[in-house]
Each structure stands twice: as structure tokens, then as C-alpha cells.
């Protein structure tokens, strides 16, 4: 619980995000503290992705958001947020499909490079150390990668900007279970390296295992919140999000996530 007492990196109060004409997120409030993994779980269509897009400046957001201790008027642009130390790994990954793996990574450090930081090579080496598979494929086009490698590349690209706060949207989406575990292991490691993480996941079981604190989102609002371990024991969460209870199968049977790629 100690991480909850750390200073807040991001505080959102009464945030509403509209997608088109529909307010997909209505009046949610939450905070993320330094060195913490905060998870938002909930069913498909609950508004999780929309919330992340709003936080990252990709969609217009109403309400108050303090990032890194500062509010801002007018709302900052995506690029300003990237520079301030926020990173988003979107559900669709949004890689540069026809560029090589290495180019994708180097572009991840584009803003730092533009600011005159010429330490991209070190960052690149770190990323390759974290994801050895990417090193092997560094001259391949991103489009030719497997689903897991794409997720790694997306994470690697975001890390190249040395973010302080990383927003992850469905990192396990479309991945084989083994790969999913690998990804979650890396998320855990990032936390130990001091990156704070907001994790949106349908795979509630895995997310709650990893997270320090969690929110349950349904139809655009938070319906439950609490330390992740407590939520994982909550009856309602168990029934609704942790799979097939009260059935005879293993308790951690995970449900599939919904949006698929093919």
C-alpha cells in the first residue's frame, strides 16, 4: 500500500470524454502515484480506451487534469504531453508498418533527439536488452512482426521517449497466453525502474495481480475502486470480471478480450 502514499503524478477530477456526439466517459475521478501501476478494468465498450485517448490529448476532454503536479489551460496537445513525459501504447499499436523495427524505435526517441538529446543509442541498447527479439528483427518491416513482437515494439517505441507515466491500452490484446505473461513481466519490471503505469485491461485477472490500485469501469463511469488485491477478492468483481465463477473450473480462467485484429 505504500505506493499509494507517494506523490501523485496524475490527478483527474470529474473527467468527461466524448467520442463523436456520445460522452463515452462521464465524470470520472482518479489519481496515479509515482512508481505505481494503476489498472482500469471493465467490459468492452465501457469507455476505457476513450478515457486513455482523452488523457493523452487525442480526444477533447472536459474536467480537471493535473499532470506532474501542473494543470494547464488551454489543454496540452499530444506532443506537449509526450515532451512532458507521458506515453500511450494504444490498443491498435499504431506502428509505422512499412518502416523497419529499428526505425520505429528510433522514431520513438524523435522528440528527445529534436531537443538535442543525442543519447538515443543508449536507449536503443536498453530496449534491445529488454526485448531481445526486437534486436533480432531490427531490419525487418514492422508489418511482418507477430502480434507479440508488435506489442513489444510498441512498448519499446514508447520507452524510447523515456516516459515518466505510461498509459497502456489492452497490452494482452490478441496475444497468446505465454506472450501475455511475458508482457506483464516487463510491465512489472518497468515499475521497478520507476515508470508509473496506467493499465487498461480486459484480462482482469492478470491486471489485478499486477496492479497496486484499480478501478472498475462500466458504461463510462467507475463503479468500484480499491487496492488491486482487495478488488480481486470482491464478489462482484469475481463474478463479473474474473471469468466463469461460480463454476467448477480453475478460478483464474481468463476470458477472452473482445476486440480482435484479423
Amino acid at each position: 500500500m505504500s505506493r499509494r502514499e507517494a506523490p501523485a503524478l496524475l490527478v483527474a477530477r470529474d473527467v468527461t470524454v466524448a467520442y463523436g456526439k456520445v460522452a463515452a466517459v462521464c465524470g470520472v475521478s482518479f489519481d496515479i502515484r509515482l512508481g505505481e501501476v494503476v489498472s482500469i478494468v471493465g467490459p468492452n465498450g465501457a469507455g476505457k480506451t476513450t478515457l486513455l485517448a482523452g488523457l493523452m490529448g487525442l480526444l477533447p476532454l472536459r474536467g480537471e487534469v493535473e499532470r506532474f503536479g501542473k494543470g494547464a489551460v488551454p489543454p496540452p496537445t499530444v506532443e506537449q504531453l509526450v515532451r512532458a513525459g507521458m506515453g500511450l501504447i494504444p490498443e491498435r499499436r499504431e506502428l509505422f508498418a512499412t518502416l523497419s523495427v529499428e526505425d520505429n524505435l528510433r522514431l520513438g526517441g524523435f522528440d528527445r533527439w529534436r531537443q538535442g538529446e543525442r543519447d538515443g543509442a543508449t536507449d536503443l541498447a536498453n530496449i534491445y536488452a529488454l526485448f531481445p527479439q526486437l534486436r533480432e528483427r531490427r531490419h525487418q518491416q514492422a508489418a511482418t512482426l507477430s502480434g507479440g513482437e508488435r506489442q513489444m515494439l510498441a512498448m519499446g517505441r514508447a520507452l524510447m521517449a523515456r516516459p515518466k507515466l505510461l498509459l497502456l491500452d489492452e497490452p494482452s490484446l490478441g496475444l497468446a497466453p505465454l506472450v501475455t505473461r511475458e508482457i506483464f513481466r516487463i510491465i512489472d519490471r518497468l515499475r521497478t525502474e520507476g515508470v508509473s503505469i496506467l493499465l487498461v485491461e480486459q484480462n482482469a485477472s492478470a491486471a489485478l495481480q499486477l496492479a497496486d490500485y484499480a478501478y472498475v469501469m462500466e458504461s463510462g463511469s467507475f463503479v468500484l475502486e480499491g487496492p488491486a488485491a482487495e478488488l480481486a477478492r470482491n464478489e462482484r468483481v469475481i463474478e463479473a470480471y474474473l471469468g466463469l465463477a461460480p463454476v467448477e473450473g480453475p478460478r483464474k480462467l481468463q476470458r477472452e478480450t473482445a476486440k480482435q485484429q484479423v
Partner: protein, 347 residues
């Protein structure tokens, strides 16, 4: 028709095709990065050619004033929406940043106009005047509506074309101008009388294409542009804003157009509205490449060059008709080659 004639026409086709290819590349660049069909490209060609001719006549071209006015408007546009105190506080910095280039370009132009024989200075001045106009046009006309539909962007592009054409007429008048030849050398290769001028055009085009290739393949700025063309959201997430890539692509495109203008300025009479038709032919070339592929755009432009040379020989009255009808067989071929098309689907 014999071989000599074929050679004559080919030489012409290649020199013209090289210019069209440059323009086609700029059109593809701007379209893939910003979804804007860069109609005002033609005006940048005319502006460059006519500015050069004006400088050679010892006059400061009107485009300089346009550049300075544009700089002021950009500062104003950047300050809109900010609280007054913030706007005032940032004003001096902005003025210095935005006005430095226009004023420097103006200074060079003024200096150059007083030295009508210094060709290099004239070229530098022309490039310095025309290139910054590109990002200014993007900033003022397109950046506020960067998310609009392709159709709206196109209509705005046409409107900007009207504005710039009108200004071209005000600055340079209705009659055409022609600048001094860079070199009057020519030599005979077989039956061909090759002018240094046409060699220069081909050489400059190839060099510029190679330079662009280098920029896109080897520099992070070029890759960032390319990345925007591939995935707009992805580009935003690495800190490349649409306005950054838009201004950068417009700067490159204006630079390419300015070079094209400089190349054709001594070979033909340039009017305030000449650029539009030239750029339209580059557009045909780009179309052959589906507005997406640089190599195919170059091939298409050379094709336009050859078709133009050929039809001006055989059937000159219908030349332009033929050149633009070229699109139809290309479309027919594409239509037969891709029997089933899904159209766009908003997923």
C-alpha cells in the same frame, strides 16, 4: 519520323519530364503527410521564376512583402486564443522567431536586387523568399482545419491557389518574364544539340531526388515525415504533431517548387499563372502512381513528358487533351488489374 527526331523529342521529353517528376514528388509528399492536394504548388513555381526575373531586372519582387506580411499573420494566428497577458509576454519571442526568416530573406533580396549580375545571390534570394511561404501557407490556411475531410482541404487548397494567383498578377503583371540563361553553352552529341541548360535541369532534378531520398531514408526528420504519412496517430504519439509535419512537408514542397521554378525560368516565358498548368502535369504523373508511390510518380511524370513531346509533334492542337486523357487508360488499366475494390470502410 526517324531516329534523329526521336532523339530530339526524347531530349525534350526528359527535360520536361524531370521537372514534372520533381513536382509529382512534392505532391505525393504533401498528400501522404497531410491529405492535402497541393494545388498552390503552381504558384510557388511561378513566384520563384518571376522573383528571379525581377531580381535580374534589379527590382525587389513583391513576394518579399508577401513573405513579411505572412510572418506577421502567423504571429497573430499563434496568439489567438491565448490570454492577453500570455500572448503579450510571448509576443517578442514569437516576433523574433517568425520574422527572422522573412526579414533575412527580404534583406538578401534587397541586396541581390542591387547586384543584378550576381546569379548565385539571386538564386539564394529566390529560394529564401519562396521556401518559407510554404509553411506559412500551411500555418494560416490548413493548420486550423487539419482534421477536415479531404474534400474540404482540397477546396481550401483551390481557394489558396486563387489568392496566390491573384497576388502573382499584382506583383508581376500580366505579361510573361524570362530570366537570363544560366549558361548558353551547347554541344553536339551525334545529331543532338544538347544545351547545358537542359543538362542542368536533368542534373538538378536527379540530384534533388537523390537528396530527398537521403532525407527520407537517412535522416530522422525525413523519417518522422514518412512516419506521419504511414500512421498519423502513431506519429502524434512519438511527438510529431500534425502541424509540425504539415509545415515541414509544405516547406519541402515549396522548396522543390522553387527549384523547379528556377530551372524553367530561363527556358520559357513564365506568366503569373504558368505554374498551375505545369503543376497539373506533375499531378497527372503523381496520379499514375496513385498519389502514394514516389517511384511510380517519377515514372508517370516521365511518361507525361514523352506523351507531351510526342503529341506536340504529331497532333499539337490536341496536345493537352492527350496529356490529360492519359489518366483514363491508366485508370482503365488499374480498374482491370484490380477487379474487386472495397472502397473505403470506416472501421
Amino acid at each position: 519520323m526517324n531516329l534523329d527526331i526521336a532523339l530530339w523529342l526524347s531530349q525534350d521529353a526528359i527535360t520536361n519530364g524531370a521537372v514534372y517528376a520533381l513536382l509529382a514528388i512534392a505532391l505525393v509528399l504533401v498528400y501522404t503527410v497531410t491529405r492535402i492536394i497541393f494545388v498552390p504548388q503552381g504558384e510557388f513555381i511561378s513566384f520563384a521564376a518571376l522573383s528571379l526575373a525581377s531580381l535580374q531586372a534589379g527590382q525587389v519582387p513583391g513576394t518579399v512583402y508577401l513573405l513579411i506580411a505572412g510572418g506577421i499573420l502567423v504571429v497573430a494566428a499563434d496568439s489567438v486564443g491565448l490570454p492577453r497577458a500570455v500572448a503579450l509576454q510571448r509576443l517578442p519571442g514569437r516576433l523574433i522567431r517568425q520574422m527572422a526568416l522573412p526579414l533575412a530573406a527580404g534583406g538578401i533580396a534587397w541586396w541581390s536586387a542591387s547586384r543584378p549580375d550576381d546569379l548565385w545571390l539571386q538564386i539564394v534570394a529566390t529560394l529564401a523568399i519562396v521556401t518559407p511561404l510554404g509553411p506559412m501557407v500551411y500555418r494560416l490556411a490548413f493548420q486550423p482545419i487539419a482534421h477536415a475531410s479531404v474534400l474540404v482541404l482540397l477546396i481550401v487548397a483551390v481557394a489558396v491557389h486563387y489568392v496566390l494567383t491573384g497576388m502573382g498578377l499584382v506583383f508581376f503583371g500580366g505579361e510573361g518574364l524570362r530570366s537570363n540563361p544560366y549558361s548558353s553553352l551547347s554541344f553536339n552529341v551525334g545529331v543532338l544539340n544538347v544545351t547545358a541548360q537542359s543538362l542542368l535541369i536533368v542534373f538538378a532534378s536527379v540530384t534533388l531526388m537523390a537528396a530527398l531520398w537521403f532525407v527520407f531514408e537517412r535522416t530522422l526528420y525525413g523519417k518522422a515525415l514518412n512516419a506521419t504519412a504511414i500512421n498519423r496517430t502513431g506519429a502524434q504519439l512519438i511527438g510529431v504533431s500534425p502541424s509540425f509535419s504539415g509545415q515541414l512537408s509544405f516547406a519541402l514542397a515549396a522548396f522543390i517548387a522553387a527549384i523547379s521554378g528556377l530551372l524553367i525560368a530561363p527556358t520559357t516565358t513564365v506568366y503569373y499563372d504558368t505554374g498551375f498548368l505545369i503543376s497539373l502535369k506533375g499531378f497527372v504523373g503523381a496520379t499514375v502512381g496513385g498519389m502514394a508511390s514516389y517511384p511510380l510518380a517519377v515514372v508517370g511524370s516521365l511518361l507525361v513528358g514523352f506523351l507531351e513531346a510526342g503529341s506536340s509533334f504529331w497532333w499539337s492542337a490536341f496536345k493537352d487533351s492527350l496529356v490529360f486523357t492519359l489518366i483514363v487508360p491508366v485508370l482503365l488499366w488499374r480498374s482491370l488489374a484490380t477487379p474487386h475494390s472495397e472502397g473505403d470502410e470506416r472501421q
